[in-house]
Symmetry: C2
Subunit: 194 residues, 2 copies
DNA sequence: ATTATAAAACTAATGATGTTAGTTTTTGTT
DNA sequence: AACAAAAACTAACATCATTAGTTTTATAAT
């Protein structure tokens, strides 16, 4: 059932990740990837459905990596502590893998079922954390959307040099997360979340 | 001083915006733009420094448009009201100009002085709003970074189909902004912001 | 061991794109 | 009417994604 074993998909994605992280996601082309793997560009079509297929697989790969790192930090924690750690790790991932992180949001069709599924694992993790605040169902979803917006927005702006002023970014992030947590608290007490 | 008047830069950017908003920023190529303007691709080099130059100018153009819309809404308002309206308008802009909004964060070099300057007008506007909360200097900057993260993150995720679950997005946004406002309030009273 | 097979990698070719160089056209100014 | 400068052009090239068809090669079956 396997008359010839050539390149492994994992190796391809690792090579693509390396290019993305060092030269930016735009530098990930079939040509550059083939060169790095020492094969000819058309050969990549045996493993990946063109550039679009590569982007999609890279997006899923990135989401899985991100999920793994988040889970590592989340286990054994709950409440404020868990949210703080999750937030820091999310941003840390984007910092350590700038290109791969970009790729997670650059899939040709973000609504693709496989991409959605990879993303939903992260969402589910966040939902469980929110449950610790007594947020259930719709309230939990709104809260998770908020947290994701915060973390993605921060990571994305930081990556794109959006924060021009030289003021400690880690402080900004910590304050932002704490502000969010405080806000959730207030909103709950005011009955705006339940 | 002007032996021949050809295309106007404004017209070029408007055409590019149209392509970006209808077909996505990736569809904005010198070829497609030239076709829309009924000229040959090399002619664009008389107005724009290649594809990179176009992207940069489009980014600045988008930031200016965004700023104009935000100012319109911010005038005559302050405090919670101003922040809520600003947030809604920010997201509304991204929705009405998905491609142009993308372009604002896709400049070849985000640290380019001209791009930074266009962005800093928006930041300054937000800083002034934050001053109404009694947040000055560093505290104001942290708060603005937070608000930008929230709004960009939300707009970006929404655009990329990141919110898969069918639950009213406007509600999520309103709750998020209110959560942020509440959080700022609590943090101030706890002395973590000053 | 030999052979068949299926996957992987290849060569060759095509179309689209960005870009440069050099030429022609156009139009406001002198 | 002549000039000059900007705009638009043609021609050409390099790079890239992609398709079609061929060759190689390692495994599986004989």
């Amino acid at each position: 059932m396997s008359p010839r074993i050539g390149l492994d998909l994992q190796i391809i994605l690792q090579a693509a990740t390396q290019i993305a992280d060092t030269e930016g996601i735009e530098a990930v082309t079939l040509a550059s990837l083939a060169k790095k793997l020492k094969i000819r560009p058309p050969s990549l079509y045996n493993h990946v459905d063109g550039l679009h297929g590569l982007r999609k697989k890279l997006a899923i790969y990135g989401l899985e990596q991100l999920y793994n790192r988040l889970v590592q930090e989340a286990i054994g924690r709950s409440g404020d502590d868990a949210v703080r750690v999750l937030g820091k790790e999310y941003v840390a991932f984007a910092r350590s893998h700038p290109g791969l992180y970009e790729a997670t949001l650059l899939a040709p069709d973000p609504r693709d079922p496989e991409v959605q599924q990879a993303g939903s694992k992260i969402v589910d993790l966040a939902v469980r954390l929110m449950n610790a605040y007594g947020l259930e169902d719709e309230a939990a979803i709104h809260a998770v959307r908020g947290l994701r917006s915060i973390l993605h927005g921060f990571a994305s702006l930081e990556q794109r040099g959006g924060f021009g002023i030289p003021l400690d970014l880690d402080v900004s992030l910590s304050l932002l997360i704490d502000t969010f947590i405080s806000g959730i608290d207030s909103m709950k007490q005011n009955g705006k979340l339940h």
